[in-house]
Symmetry: C2
Subunit: 180 residues, 2 copies
């Protein structure tokens, strides 16, 4: 079902993504589809979360700087046309309705936040970052991602990734200032 939804979104865009088309492509009955995913938004959330888990692995190199760089580079790489299109649709739906916002937060936004939080906590354990800054960094990374995506503030590219790595983990070759 998630694969079918992705394929349809890639081929015809989020506008052509209807429950009936998803059921037909996935070869399941509409009853089955609705039992597991009551709304189209929920199919999109799960399809994006599943793809994110696959395309954005959680590195564990022993260095906060290296882990963060790999995580952000794969985040940049995974933001292809279909993904961006679906993320725009989720942002629009979230901004329009508080219930949808909470659903999107709990079922999708939180997936990425948990992954990044785990990565940063290893940095906290190694003394590379304080726990206060680690929690702030989770907000900063994803807030910046969505802000750029929604308002065309700037590109989501490796340069964006590097500016975040520099801010959170400090310059290469020196540890981040534990006081900062």
């Amino acid at each position: 079902v998630l694969r079918a939804a992705w394929d349809i979104a890639s081929e015809v865009g989020a506008g052509g993504l209807h429950m009936e088309a998803i059921a037909r492509r996935a070869g399941v009955s509409k009853e089955t589809l609705y039992r597991w995913w009551p709304t189209k938004t929920e199919v999109v959330l799960d399809a994006l979360a599943a793809r994110g888990t696959r395309t954005i692995p959680l590195p564990d190199t022993g260095s906060l700087r290296e882990d963060l760089q790999q995580f952000l580079h794969s985040t940049v790489d995974s933001a292809d046309g279909t993904t961006t299109h679906l993320l725009h649709a989720l942002a629009a739906a979230s901004a329009s309705d508080r219930g949808t916002a909470i659903l999107v937060r709990d079922r999708f936004v939180e997936t990425g936040r948990s992954a990044l939080r785990a990565l940063l906590r290893r940095g906290v354990a190694r003394g590379e970052i304080t726990s206060r800054r680690a929690e702030l960094a989770v907000d900063f990374v994803f807030a910046s991602f969505w802000y750029r995506l929604i308002f065309e503030i700037g590109a989501l590219d490796y340069e964006w990734a590097e500016s975040i790595v520099l801010e959170i983990a400090g310059a290469a070759g020196r540890a981040a200032d534990p006081e900062a």
Copy 2:
């Protein structure tokens, strides 16, 4: 016209905000209204920007920490129900259409960014923050604001303001680390 748009949005919500109602309330012809504001989005952008300029003054106390705190506190104070409602509508419109996103960015988002940038540059001139961090701070403040607003990530309150002040300007009584 901007005042009329604001009053209607306060009374009946963004859903009841139509060009005809704005023209009637403002006592101008529809021709005049459309000549200056071709779309409802543009009326909302200018109404919000005008209100922001009035309710979020740009402090100049001689201290980055103090300026930032005042700026963020008035940002929190100005986010009342009508404002939040209109900001949600702008975010939904921006996420749905790239042309609208650019309009919203240039005509509204950039107003707040310019104000905050001016405040931070005075901090750069006084040696309280590096110019690299000042530019990043502009993104961080507004990205965090919209992220919380759209996805219900957390409250936009004085605690949020304090965590940002602490990160950007350091703890009270000591200068921010110029290396960080």
